[in-house]
Amino acid sequence: MTTPQPLQIRRRATGGETEIELSLDVPSDLEYVGPAVELIADELPGGPLSLRRIRFNFRTAFAEALANAIAYGNRRDPGRVVRVRVEVARDAVRLHVTDEGNGFDPADVPDPTLPERLEREDGRGLFVLRSLVDHVAFNEKGNSVCLTLRAG
């Protein structure tokens, strides 16, 4: 991290189905992944997700999505940020991670559990994401992902 910037979380109570919304802009430097994940996870109100799912599923999936957005989406360009928005509702937590890149086609990512790919160092991010949350949805361009963790 060459020029550390404090991460600023924004919190707002909403009147609709989503009770609280947290948002955060993260610089395109992988050193921010851990601190950003901790900042948001610590701010998540108890309720929809069990502490265990916040500790493991939410943190891991968030770190995965953020790292992908910084490394592959924004290509670590310091002029770009990753926008994070977390909607906390009674029935679910929805995490939106959006980069400023050109997107990708998730269908093009090969299965990392195939025997010939098992000893590769990379290529597990999307698989891990899908394993840890209830729903993964990309926008058409492929530069924004919404991860849904249902209450429980």
Binding site: E121, D122, V128, S131
Partner: protein, 110 residues
């Protein structure tokens, strides 16, 4: 988050992962283990105090496992909680690593 390295009386290097093993700190772990590989060949990585591991963290373990094997060494993993164990199973990495429950079991297995 931090990594601790200790050598037991039989020369086995025990690496503790405190916090998380993710994209932001994986290189630190890799370098520490590679440095230690010059003085020892048997490694245990203990995840008893680990909260979560992302795919980059899994990737660095795969890479270290290969490097240690190439040097004629051996790597064992231990202390995985139920969630981390599931992550290894889902990614089929449980087939690639020697995984035992506790550091004591890992040391006894060498």
């Amino acid at each position: 988050m931090s990594f601790s390295l200790k050598k037991d009386k039989h020369g086995v290097v025990v690496v503790g992962v405190d916090g998380q093993l993710i994209v932001g700190n994986r290189q630190e772990l890799k370098q520490k283990v590679l440095d230690a590989l010059e003085g020892g060949k048997k490694f245990v990585i203990d995840f008893t105090k680990t909260g979560y591991i992302d795919s980059s963290g899994l990737g660095v373990l795969v890479s270290l496992s290969k490097k240690i094997r190439e040097q004629g060494g051996d790597l064992r993993l231990c202390g995985l909680n139920e969630d981390l164990q599931t992550l290894f199973e889902l990614t089929k990495l449980d087939t690639l690593f020697a995984i035992v429950r506790t550091p004591e079991e890992a040391l006894a297995a060498f």
